[in-house]
């Protein structure tokens, strides 16, 4: 594997409205790697992703993508950098007013207004075929199932051949077969196009299928960074419990009501 680092997050501090969600988060993602960001619900996985892709402004720390430090001087990361990444949102985030084909064509149409429409269409059909949605070109997003919407979202995310692809819970809410299909697709894209991927998920089956390395978040901090086998063998107990589907200890608190009983 090429060891060039495609994504470097150093000492990231992030949150919303003054409330800190992530504290001192660091991770380095190598080229061609599929990095899983893992953790229980509410641990800050999506916040980390939003900060990396520039949808939220970090409170501190630095993010370096594709050799460029993310610059917030103009209010958000530069378009040149954003054009080199792709993002698959949890629900696909397709624009409901456009057809699937128009959705996938959107980044090409906006960034390359001079590109002839028949070439754009050809490219879009190619990408849709790649995610096995060739038949859905003219359909509206509301005519697609959840899994198809995610695949269409994936086609849109890869239409510009990004070097770095971010996926927010790609298999959440999907049946095991569709979920496995999507995982295979991600592996295929990595192997054929060499795309580096950062995948936020807590689906264990997906993790076992696609993970090269994982970053485990707990309480807004990284508690493990390494390979899956290493996590299972020598990781912190919380990580092992998570990977073995062992629920944490639940403490019952409450008040006992004492009744006056009378017999006879």
């Amino acid at each position: 594997m090429n060891e060039t680092v495609k994504l470097k997050v150093d000492h990231l501090r992030a949150g919303y409205d003054g409330h800190v969600v992530l504290e001192d988060v660091s991770m380095h993602v190598a080229a061609g790697e599929i990095r899983i960001i893992l953790g229980a619900s509410g641990c800050g996985k999506s916040t980390l992703l939003k900060n990396i892709i520039g949808l939220e402004r970090p409170m501190g720390g630095t993010i370096e993508m594709l050799g460029n430090v993310v610059d917030w001087s103009e209010g958000r990361p530069t378009n040149e950098l954003m054009r080199r990444i792709g993002v698959l949102f949890q629900g696909g985030a397709l624009l409901s007013s456009l057809t699937v084909g128009e959705n996938v064509a959107l980044p090409l149409r906006i960034h390359n207004p001079g590109l002839p429409m028949d070439i754009v269409e050809e490219l879009v059909r190619l990408k849709l075929e790649q995610v096995k949605l060739g038949h859905a070109y003219g359909k509206r997003p509301n005519e697609l199932s959840g899994g198809m919407r995610k695949r269409a979202g994936l086609a849109r995310a890869i239409v510009t051949d990004p070097e770095l692809l971010f996926c927010d819970e790609p298999s959440a809410g999907l049946d095991p077969v569709t979920s496995r299909g999507l995982d295979d697709l991600l592996l295929e894209l990595r192997d054929s196009l060499g795309i580096t991927m950062v995948v936020v998920t807590h689906e264990l089956d997906s993790i076992r299928t696609i993970c090269d390395r994982m970053t485990f978040l707990s309480g807004g901090k990284v508690i493990f960074d390494g390979e899956l086998e290493e996590a299972e063998a020598r990781g912190p107990q919380e990580v092992k419990d998570f990977l073995n589907r062992k629920p944490g200890e639940v403490k019952h608190t409450g008040r006992t009501v004492v009744f006056n009983l009378e017999d006879g």
Binding site: M82, F259, L261
Partner: protein
């Protein structure tokens, strides 16, 4: 001490609790409430919650609850009851009148600032598009023109005609008293062109098209569609704002012309039918009264109102946070803010044009 005896049924149902609870509390006033449980067969969640609540309420007011003849199985169930700790109600931060007024003022000025920023970005990208026509989303603008403008035409025509009828009839009666019905044309022309046409059209579009823009954009925000645009390096201002901004800017003056024309024609019909005013003299008088100056005022007003509607609606949509309820609130707020701003702007224009 007074003891009130009550026999519980086989099963404590929601109906039974609703019917009997307040009666039991009253009956046990100042004494002991003894519930005979010999018929009771089971203690489900409702029964346990109700008995616990009753026990605690009676205890608080110095009374006593006694459960008699409870079967051994039910006693076991009862022993398991653990209720969640009662959360202390959060202390509401009390804000003084001055602080509340200050907060509202800050919010109001913040919204004005956001709208002005949006206006400057829209004008910047519009100018940019003039030099690089390929970046202009013509098809999207056309779709928005149909959606926001053309489809509003029937309601604008209908309401303006009805207002024209009313206005002509009421002013015609007053003018007739002085034998001045011939001035009906000038009155109708000036009021429809400078005031009623632009304001009426703007109010209709604020309610119809403004709310639709806010609902659409805020739903896109909630469904992460706007985030997806940003992640594709697509500027939402360019993609979402410009087509709507241009559509409103082009449609509003055209709709205002239609509105004013339908009101004036309604005046002509009223003048002819009720005040024996010939169409020729009405049109002659109209031509003399409605000068280019008035037409210019109408154009400036309608363009300003169109910008107010488009920018307020888009701003409300883009700043939505939360779920479906936030979309509803943003839509209502958009209509109220648009109508208020239109009327404010109209007052400012009257001041500028007439003083």
């Amino acid at each position: 001490m007074k003891v009130t005896e009550v026999e519980l049924p086989e099963e404590i149902t929601p109906d039974w609790v609703s019917r009997e609870h307040s009666g039991l509390m009253e009956k046990s006033e100042g004494g002991t409430l003894r519930l005979d449980c010999h018929r009771l067969r089971k203690l489900d969640a409702l029964s346990l919650a109700w008995l616990s609540h009753l026990q605690e309420s009676l205890e608080k007011s110095g009374r006593r609850l006694v459960l008699a003849h409870l079967s051994p199985e039910l006693k076991k169930d009862l022993a398991k009851v653990t209720l969640p700790e009662q959360e202390k109600p959060e202390e509401q931060e009390s804000h003084g009148l001055l602080e509340r007024v200050g907060d509202s003022a800050m919010k109001f000025f913040g919204e004005i600032r956001d709208t002005l920023v949006l206006l400057s970005e829209s004008l910047y990208w519009s100018t940019f598009a003039l030099f690089r026509p390929k970046t202009l989303l013509r098809e999207d603008t056309r779709i928005q023109m149909v959606r926001l403008g053309s489809t509003a035409l029937p309601i604008v025509l209908l309401l303006s005609t009805l207002i024209g009828f009313t206005l002509a009839l009421q002013s015609g009666v007053q003018l007739q008293k002085f034998g001045a019905t011939v001035f009906l044309a000038s009155g109708m022309g000036i009021s429809m062109v400078t005031e009623i046409g632009p304001v009426m059209t703007a109010v209709i579009l604020a309610g119809r098209s403004g709310s639709s823009i806010t609902a659409e954009i805020s739903t896109m925000v909630v469904q992460e569609e706007v985030g997806a645009l940003q992640s594709m390096a697509i500027n939402p201002i360019h993609f979402l704002v410009l087509p709507r901004f241009w559509a409103m800017s082009l449609c509003m003056p055209l709709l205002t012309v239609c509105s004013a024309a339908s009101g004036i024609i309604a005046g002509l019909v009223v003048g002819f039918l009720f005040f024996r005013l010939s169409p020729a003299s009405y049109l002659h008088e109209l031509k003399d009264a409605v000068t280019v100056n008035y037409l210019g005022q109408a154009l400036i007003k309608s363009l300003t109102f169109s910008w107010i509607i488009a920018l307020v609606a888009i701003n409300k949509g883009l700043n939505v946070r939360g779920g479906a309820d936030a979309v509803g609130k943003a839509t209502t707020s958009c209509v109220v803010t648009c109508i208020f701003s239109i009327i404010m702007a109209d007052a400012v224009f009257s001041f500028i044009f007439y003083y």
